[in-house]
C-alpha cells in the first residue's frame, strides 16, 4: 500500500504558463467549432444585397441580387471578387432570386413588378437576355420562387398583396392568383415534400399555406406570427416552417394545423432572413442535424438547433445583415449586408471525406494488379539479410520491453535544464506565446537569475525584450511581473537605451502604451466612483 516510490523518482517539471480560468460553460462546443470553421472572405463594392440563393445543382454557384444587377459567383473560385455571370437587364432594383431545381434557370423579380427568367446554364452570354418576362404585378415584386419539386411553375408575390403562380412554359399570364394577404407579401417557400403546396409570409403578420390544387384564394392553413413576416422557410422534413418577423424566429408545426412549437428571441433587431443549414456532409446520422440560420439587422448570425431549441452558435458581423444562404454541399455560407458586402464563408472539407466519396464511386475499377505474393528470401550477401525481421510486429503473447519514453522538452526547457538562462529567455521571447515567456521569467526569478539575464542581453535581444514589454506589460494578467521588470530594465540598461535611436523608439512606445493604460484606469476609477454610491444605496434596501 505504501508506495512512496513515485516521490523519489527523478522527475522533470517543464515550465508551464499559468493556468487560465476555465469558463463555466464551454465556449467552443463541437458545433460552434463547426460554424466558425467557415473562413470568411468578402465580396465588396456592391450595393445592399437583399437576396442570395444557391443553385441546387453542383458545383453550387450562388446568385446575389444587388441594385439592378444579379451576379452569379462560383464559390470554388479564388479570389471571389469577379462574378462568373452578371445579368444587368433590369430596370429597377432586383428584390428576389430563385434557381430552378436543376439549377439551369434563374427567376428574378424586381421592384418594377417584372419577373424574368434567365438561362444561366449556358454561360455568361446566354444569360444576357431573359427567356421570359412575366409581367402582371403592378407593384414591386418582392418574392419569386421556383418550387423545389416543380420545374414548370414560378411563384411570385409583391407589394400588391397578391400571390401569383406562373406557368413558365405557357407564357405571360399567371395561372393562378391567390388573394388572401392584406398587406405586402415579402416572402415564401415551397414544401420540400409536396409539389403543390407553398407558404407565403406577409406584413399583415400572417403566414399562409396554399395548395395550388384548390385555387380558391383560401389558404389551407394560416398562422399569425405577431409581427410583419420578413422570411419564412420550410424545414427539411416538410412538416414544420420557421418564420422570421420582428426580433423573433418562430417554429410552427403544420401537420398539427399550425401550432407554435417554439420561438427563438435571440436577435436584438429585426430578423431579416432565414435559411436551413446542415452540419457535416456524409454519414446518414449527421444528415439529420439540420439547423436554422437566421440573420438580423443587429448584425448577428445565429444558428438555432430546433430539435433541442437552443442557439448553438452566434456570430457577429459589422453591418446589418439582409440575406443568408447555405450551399447544399455544406461548403459555403453566404451572408449579404445592407452596405454592399457579401461575406462568403468557405469551409475546407477534409481530404478523407472527399477521398471516401471517390473511392466509393470508383470502387469497381480498383482491382489491384497481381502482386508477387511469395516472400523474397534474402541471402547473407544482401544487406537486407541483416535487417530482416526488424519491422516485425509483436504477436499477441509476446512480452514487450519498451524503451523508456523520452520526455519531450521544448527549446526553452532544454536550455533551462542546462542552466543556459539567457538563451532560454531569448528563445522564448522569439516565440509567439506570451504565457510561455512569463513562465520562463517566473522560473528565472525563482532561480534568482532574471536580473543577470536582463543585464547580459545584447542590444538586439534587448530590443526583443522591449517589444515584448510594450506589447504585454499592460495586459492585466502579466502586468504584475512585467511592470516591475520594465522598471528594472530601464534602470539597468539606461546607457544602452540612450545610445541607440531604435531602443529609444521602443521606450517611447512603451511609455505611450503605459500612459494609455493609466488613462483607462483613471476612467475606470471615475466609473467606479459613480457606481459605488449607487451600489451602497442598493445594498441598504
Amino acid at each position: 500500500m505504501a508506495e512512496p516510490l513515485h516521490s523519489s523518482q527523478p522527475k522533470t517539471f517543464p515550465v508551464k504558463p499559468k493556468l487560465k480560468p476555465k469558463p463555466r460553460t464551454q465556449n467552443q462546443t463541437p458545433e460552434s467549432k463547426y460554424w466558425s470553421s467557415f473562413k470568411n472572405t468578402q465580396i465588396q463594392n456592391l450595393i445592399s444585397v437583399p437576396s442570395l440563393t444557391f443553385s441546387p445543382s453542383s458545383p453550387h454557384p450562388f446568385a446575389a441580387a444587388h441594385s439592378a444587377t444579379v451576379s452569379i459567383y462560383k464559390p470554388q473560385n479564388d479570389p471571389l471578387d469577379s462574378p462568373t455571370t452578371t445579368i444587368t437587364s433590369f430596370k429597377d432594383v432586383v428584390s428576389s432570386l430563385s434557381f430552378r431545381s436543376d439549377g439551369r434557370l434563374l427567376a428574378a423579380g424586381d421592384l418594377s413588378g417584372l419577373v424574368q427568367v434567365f438561362d444561366v446554364g449556358g454561360g455568361s452570354a446566354a444569360a444576357r437576355s431573359a427567356l421570359r418576362r412575366l409581367r402582371s404585378h403592378v407593384r414591386p415584386v418582392r418574392f419569386v420562387h421556383y418550387p423545389k419539386l416543380q420545374r414548370l411553375r414560378v411563384i411570385s408575390a409583391g407589394d400588391d398583396a397578391l400571390v401569383k403562380v406562373w406557368d413558365v412554359a405557357a407564357g405571360d399570364s399567371p395561372v393562378m392568383e391567390l388573394r388572401g394577404h392584406r398587406d405586402y407579401v415579402r416572402c415564401g417557400d415551397s414544401s420540400p415534400v409536396n409539389a403543390d403546396t407553398f407558404i407565403t409570409g406577409s406584413y399583415d403578420h400572417t403566414v399562409k399555406l396554399w395548395d395550388v390544387r384548390v385555387g380558391d384564394s383560401k389558404p389551407a392553413i394560416e398562422v399569425n406570427h405577431g409581427n410583419p413576416v420578413e422570411d419564412v422557410v420550410f424545414l427539411p422534413a416538410g412538416g414544420m416552417v420557421a418564420t422570421a418577423g420582428g426580433n423573433s424566429v418562430k417554429f410552427w408545426d403544420l401537420i398539427s394545423g399550425g401550432k407554435l412549437v417554439c420561438s427563438m428571441e435571440g436577435h436584438n433587431k429585426t430578423v431579416t432572413s432565414l435559411c436551413v443549414g446542415r452540419i457535416g456532409s456524409g454519414s446518414d446520422e449527421e444528415l439529420n442535424q439540420f439547423r436554422v440560420l437566421s440573420v438580423g439587422l443587429d448584425g448577428y448570425m445565429k444558428v438555432f438547433d430546433y430539435s433541442s431549441m437552443k442557439v448553438t452558435h452566434s456570430m457577429r458581423f459589422p453591418a446589418p445583415l439582409l440575406s443568408v444562404a447555405y450551399s447544399p454541399d455544406c461548403k459555403t455560407r453566404v451572408i449579404g449586408t445592407s452596405n454592399g458586402i457579401i461575406y462568403v464563408g468557405k469551409r475546407k472539407i477534409k481530404e478523407e471525406e472527399i477521398e471516401g466519396r471517390v473511392s466509393e464511386k470508383s470502387l469497381f475499377w480498383r482491382i489491384r494488379p497481381l502482386e508477387h505474393t511469395e516472400k523474397k528470401v534474402f541471402r547473407p550477401s544482401h544487406f537486407r539479410y541483416f535487417q530482416r525481421g526488424q519491422g516485425e510486429k509483436p504477436s499477441e503473447g509476446d512480452y514487450l520491453i519498451m524503451r523508456p519514453k523520452k520526455e519531450k522538452l521544448r527549446e526553452h526547457d532544454k536550455l533551462l535544464k542546462n542552466f543556459r538562462h539567457g538563451e532560454a529567455l531569448v528563445s522564448v521571447l522569439e516565440g509567439k506565446n506570451p504565457g510561455n515567456v512569463l513562465a520562463v521569467m517566473e522560473e528565472l526569478v525563482s532561480r534568482k537569475k532574471l536580473m543577470v539575464c536582463v543585464s547580459n542581453l545584447d542590444a538586439e535581444k534587448l530590443k526583443l525584450l522591449l517589444v515584448f514589454l510594450r506589447k504585454y506589460c499592460t495586459v492585466p494578467r502579466y502586468s504584475g511581473l512585467l511592470m516591475g521588470l520594465a522598471r528594472k530594465v530601464l534602470e539597468m540598461r539606461v546607457d544602452e537605451i540612450r545610445g541607440s535611436e531604435a531602443l529609444r523608439a521602443h521606450i517611447r512606445n512603451l511609455k505611450r502604451s503605459i500612459e494609455e493604460e493609466i488613462k483607462i484606469q483613471q476612467s475606470l476609477q471615475e466609473i467606479q466612483g459613480i457606481i459605488s454610491p449607487l451600489l451602497k444605496i442598493a445594498g441598504r434596501r
Binding site: A2, S7, S8, F13, V445, S446, L450, L485
Partner: protein, 791 residues
C-alpha cells in the same frame, strides 16, 4: 501511549546477515524493517537514551545477533529474531559510536579469536570525547588507553578488512592500524593525513590500503598506499623508505605517510557520503545536493542517480549484491537496486521540519491533521505535502504542491507556507509563495485539493493566483459541513470560497467542471487578518482583525458582531467544540490565551501564556493547549512545554502534561471511531490526543486517563515473510519445480479432456503421445465406468 515519527537517519542502519532485515536506530529503540516490503517488523526496546550504533554479528543466515550502543552508556547484545536482550554492559559513559573490528576480516582469523571480542568506542568522559577500547566478552571496564580526544564526537570508521580504524578530525584524518592480536594493552599504530579543508567523511577500501575522504567544498581525496612506512613490517620498510625518498609522492602533503593522493571534484557542496563497493572497483559518493555518484576507481568515470531530493547521509551495502540502502536527510531510507541504480522501495519516516522557517511572515510550519483517518499532513522540503499515518507510523504518500525540483543546496525561493485540511479530511488547501527577485515576480497562490474517493489521494482542484493581490495569506479554514473555505490575508481582507459542482454533459461523457470560486470578500477597517475559523455548526465565521474578533455570517457575508480587544494581535482562533466559547491566541510581548463567550460577546477568562497550539475536542467543550514555558520555569518541569486540558467553562485545567521540544509543536484530537482501533489495556479509549513536537516526533495518548496506561495498537498484520528473490532466481526467475514423481502423461498431452483422442491431433506432431498411452485411455472410455453406481 503510541510513539512515532522517530528519526530514522540519526545513525547508519545495518543489514542482517541474510539481507532480509534492516536494523535502523530510531530514538531509544532499534526498529527492524523488512527489506523487501519496507514495513516495520519488530523493534528492540530497552535503551533509555538514543541508540547510536548497531553492529550485526556476522554469522550464518539464521543467527540474528547484534550489538548496540547508546547515549545511556550501555552496550547491549540482542537476539533480534526474538527480539530480546541477551547481555548488557554498562560502560557508564555516553557512547557516540562503536565499532567491533574482530567481526570483520577473514573468517578463520575470527574463529581463532572468538574468545575475545574487543570494541572501539567513542565515549564522553565529562570533558571530551575519547576513543577507547573495551572488551565485550569479559568486560570489566573501559580500557584506560585513550587513542584520541576530540571536542566534538566523531564517528569511528572501520575498514572492511577490520585492520584499520579511522576518524576525521577537522582537517586531519587519523588512522590506526589495529594490532593483530587484540588485548587490553595492545597498542595501535597511528598515522595522520592532512588536508586544507575540513573533512566531512571518510571511507576505507575493502582490500587495498586506500582511504577516501570528502570535504566541505565537495572535493574528494583518495590516498593510496597510506601507512607504507609505519604500518608495514620493518624488514620491508627500509627499502620502501628509500624508494619513496627518490620519487615524489604525488599530491601528498609534506610528511604524510601515503604513496599518492588524488583529488576528484564533482560535488558542488559538501560530501556527506563515501563508500567503496565490496569488490573495491567503485566508489559511491553523495552530498548535500542529493545526487548519488558512482565512480569507477581506475578511470574516474562517473554514473549518477540524480534528484533524490535531499542530502544523502549513509550508504550501506547488503549481503545481497544487488541491494543497497541510502539514508537521506529527509528521514527516508531508500532501497537501491545497485547495478541499475534505481530506487525500488523506501522506508518513509516523517519528513523533518523545514529548515527555512524564517522565509516570510506568513510561513507556518504547522502540521495539519486529518482527524478521521488519523493522518497528519506536513510540509516537506521538496515543496510537497507528506501524508503520514499516525497509527501505522509510516509515510502514506506525498503530493507535490509546487512543480519544481528541490535542490537542497540552493537558496530557497519557493515555499509551501500553509497547509490545512477540512474536518472530514476530504479537502486540502495549500498556500505557496514565490519570493520576488529584487522586487520583481513574487507570487502567492492558493490551491484547493480534492480527495479522490477511490485512491484516497489528493489532486488539485483549483489554483488561484494572487488570491489577495500581493498580500500573503495568514490562514485558511474550512466549513465543517459545506464545501466552503475562508482565507484571510495580511492585506486586511478575507475571502470566502465555495466549491461549485457542475457536470456538463457533453457527447455522453460527463465533464466534471467543479471548481472553487470567490463567494464573498470582507474586511474590517483594513486591519490585517491573521486567523479565521468556522463554528462547529458552520453558522458563524470568526475572523481575527488585528486585535479584535469579527463575527460574520458566511453565507450572506454580513458582519454580525465585533468582540473585544486583546493587547497584541490575535494569531489563532478556534471554537471550543460545540460550545459557545471561542478561543483566541495572541503572541508578542503580552502573549495571551483568551476564552470568549459568544452569548455574552465578552471575555470569559484568559491566561497569560505563550501558546504554541490549540486544539478543540470535536464533540465536547474541552480543548487542549500547548503552552511554551518561560526559560526560568524549565527546571521545574521536565520539558520546555506543557499541554493543558481545559473545559471551556472553567479556567482550571482538567489535566496537564509536560512535554519537550514544544516549540513548533502541534496538537490535535483524533475522532472516536478511529480510536476504537487503539486499545488501552483491553478497553477502548474514546478520545485520543496527538502531540507532535518540533522535531515531528509524536505521541498519541488519552488525555483524560490519569494513570497513563500504555496504549497499544492492534497493528495490522504485516506480511513478514519476504517474497523477494535473490541470486539466480532474481535474475532468471524461479525455476520450475522439478518433480520426479510427476505423471508423465500430464506433461505430454497438450489438452486435458475427457476424450483425448478427439483433441489430440490439434497439437503439434511431436507432442503426440505414444500409441500405447492412447490405447489404454481409449479402451477405458469404451468401458463404462460403474464405480459411481457401485457406491
Amino acid at each position: 501511549m503510541i510513539k512515532g515519527g522517530q528519526n530514522y537517519v540519526s545513525s547508519p542502519p545495518a543489514f542482517s546477515n541474510d539481507g532480509n532485515r534492516v536494523l535502523v536506530c530510531t530514538g531509544n529503540t532499534v526498529s527492524i524493517f523488512s527489506s523487501s516490503t519496507g514495513l516495520q517488523v519488530s523493534s528492540l526496546e530497552g535503551h533509555t537514551a538514543p541508540v547510536t550504533s548497531v553492529v550485526v554479528v556476522p554469522a550464518t543466515d539464521i543467527l540474528c545477533y547484534c550489538w548496540t550502543s547508546s547515549f545511556d552508556g550501555t552496550v547491549r547484545y540482542w537476539d533480534f529474531s526474538v527480539p530480546e536482550t541477551v547481555k548488557k554492559l554498562d560502560l557508564g559513559m555516553p557512547i557516540f559510536s562503536m565499532v567491533i573490528p574482530s567481526f570483520l576480516g577473514s573468517p578463520e582469523e575470527n574463529n581463532a579469536k572468538t574468545a575475545n571480542v574487543f570494541a572501539y568506542v567513542s565515549v564522553h568522559d565529562g570533558k571530551a570525547w575519547q576513543i577507547r577500547k573495551c572488551s565485550l566478552t569479559n568486560y570489566r571496564k573501559v580500557g584506560k588507553l585513550v587513542l584520541k580526544e576530540t571536542e566534538r564526537p566523531e564517528p569511528l570508521i572501520i575498514s572492511p578488512s577490520g585492520k584499520f580504524l579511522g576518524i576525521k578530525h577537522k582537517r586531519k584524518l587519523h588512522i590506526w592500524k589495529l594490532p593483530r592480536v587484540e588485548s587490553d594493552v595492545a597498542v595501535a599504530k597511528k598515522i595522520t593525513l592532512h588536508h586544507t579543508k575540513t573533512i566531512t567523511v571518510l571511507a576505507f577500501h575493502p582490500t587495498e590500503r586506500t582511504v577516501a575522504a570528502g570535504d566541505v567544498t565537495g572535493r574528494m581525496l583518495i590516498w593510496r598506499g597510506f601507512g607504507t612506512q609505519k604500518f608495514l613490517d620493518h624488514s620491508g620498510s627500509n627499502n620502501r623508505i628509500s624508494m619513496n625518498d627518490g620519487e615524489d609522492k604525488h599530491g601528498v602533503r609534506q610528511n604524510d605517510d601515503a604513496e599518492s593522493c588524488s583529488v576528484w571534484h564533482w560535488h558542488s557542496a559538501g560530501v556527506c557520503l563515501l563508500s567503496f563497493s565490496p569488490d573495491g572497483a567503485y566508489l559511491y559518493s553523495g552530498g548535500t545536493e542529493g545526487v548519488l555518484v558512482l565512480w569507477q576507481l581506475d578511470s574516474g568515470k562517473k554514473k549518477f542517480l540524480p534528484r533524490i531530493g535531499s542530502p544523502l547521509l549513509y550508504f550501506i551495502e547488503s549481503p545481497d549484491p544487488s541491494l543497497s540502502l541510502i539514508s537521506c536527510a529527509d528521514n527516508q531510507i531508500h532501497m537501491l537496486k545497485t547495478p541499475s541504480m534505481e530506487i525500488i522501495k523506501s522506508i518513509s519516516g516523517i519528513k523533518p521540519p523545514l529548515s527555512y522557517q524564517e522565509i516570510c511572515e506568513s510561513f507556518s510550519g504547522k502540521a495539519a491533521f486529518d482527524c478521521t483517518s488519523g493522518l497528519v499532513a506536513v510540509q516537506t522540503e521538496n515543496y510537497g505535502i507528506q501524508f503520514y499515518s499516525l497509527l501505522a507510523n509510516r509515510g502514506v504518500y506525498e503530493v507535490q504542491v509546487c512543480e519544481r525540483n528541490h535542490q537542497p543546496a540552493d537558496e530557497v525561493t519557493v515555499a509551501v507556507t500553509l497547509v490545512e485540511l477540512s474536518v472530514d479530511g476530504s479537502i486540502m488547501g495549500t498556500v505557496e509563495i514565490k519570493l520576488p527577485e529584487e522586487g520583481v515576480g513574487g507570487l502567492v497562490s492558493l490551491k484547493f485539493w480534492d480527495l479522490d474517493s477511490d485512491t484516497k489521494r489528493f489532486s488539485v482542484s483549483t489554483v488561484i493566483y494572487e488570491p489577495h493581490r500581493d498580500a500573503h495569506i495568514s490562514a485558511i479554514a474550512f466549513h465543517p459541513t459545506h464545501r466552503m473555505a475562508v482565507s484571510s490575508s495580511y492585506g486586511g481582507d478575507f475571502k470566502i470560497w465555495v466549491c461549485k459542482e457542475g457536470d456538463i454533459q457533453q457527447k455522453g461523457q460527463a465533464l466534471q467542471n467543479s471548481g472553487w470560486m470567490c463567494h464573498a470578500v470582507g474586511s474590517y477597517k483594513n486591519k490585517a487578518m491573521r486567523a479565521a475559523t468556522f463554528s462547529a455548526d458552520g453558522s458563524v465565521l470568526a475572523v481575527a482583525a488585528d486585535t479584535v474578533i469579527t463575527l460574520w455570517d458566511p453565507d450572506k457575508n454580513v458582519l454580525m458582531a465585533v468582540v473585544g480587544e486583546t493587547p497584541t494581535p490575535i494569531v489563532s482562533l478556534a471554537f471550543a467544540g460545540k460550545s459557545e466559547y471561542l478561543l483566541s491566541v495572541s503572541h508578542g510581548l503580552k502573549p495571551r490565551l483568551s476564552v470568549w463567550s459568544m452569548s455574552k460577546l465578552a471575555m470569559a477568562w484568559s491566561y497569560r501564556l505563550q501558546i504554541e497550539a490549540v486544539s478543540p475536542a470535536i464533540d465536547s467543550s474541552y480543548f487542549a493547549i500547548l503552552a511554551l514555558l518561560p526559560e526560568s520555569n524549565e527546571r521545574a518541569f521536565k520539558g520546555n512545554g506543557i499541554i493543558l486540558l481545559f473545559n471551556a467553562t472553567d479556567p482550571v485545567p482538567v489535566a496537564s502534561m509536560s512535554v519537550t521540544k514544544a516549540k513548533g509543536g502541534g496538537l490535535a484530537f483524533l475522532k472516536g471511531d478511529l480510536s476504537e482501533r487503539a486499545v488501552i489495556d483491553g478497553k477502548t479509549s474514546q478520545t485520543l490526543l496527538v502531540y507532535i513536537n518540533g522535531d515531528r516526533e509524536y505521541v498519541i495518548f488519552d488525555p483524560y486517563d490519569k494513570e497513563g496506561h500504555e496504549l497499544s495498537i492492534i497493528r495490522q498484520d504485516v506480511p513478514l515473510e519476504e517474497t523477494g528473490q535473490f541470486g539466480y532466481s532474481s535474475i532468471y526467475g524461479e525455476l520450475p519445480k522439478f518433480d520426479l514423481q510427476k505423471d508423465k502423461t500430464a506433461s505430454v498431452i497438450s489438452t486435458a479432456s475427457e476424450r483425448p483422442w478427439e483433441t489430440i491431433f490439434t497439437g503439434s506432431t511431436h507432442m503426440l503421445p505414444p500409441l500405447t498411452k492412447l490405447c489404454s485411455v481409449f479402451l477405458e472410455s469404451l468401458l463404462e465406468k460403474r464405480t459411481a453406481l457401485a457406491e
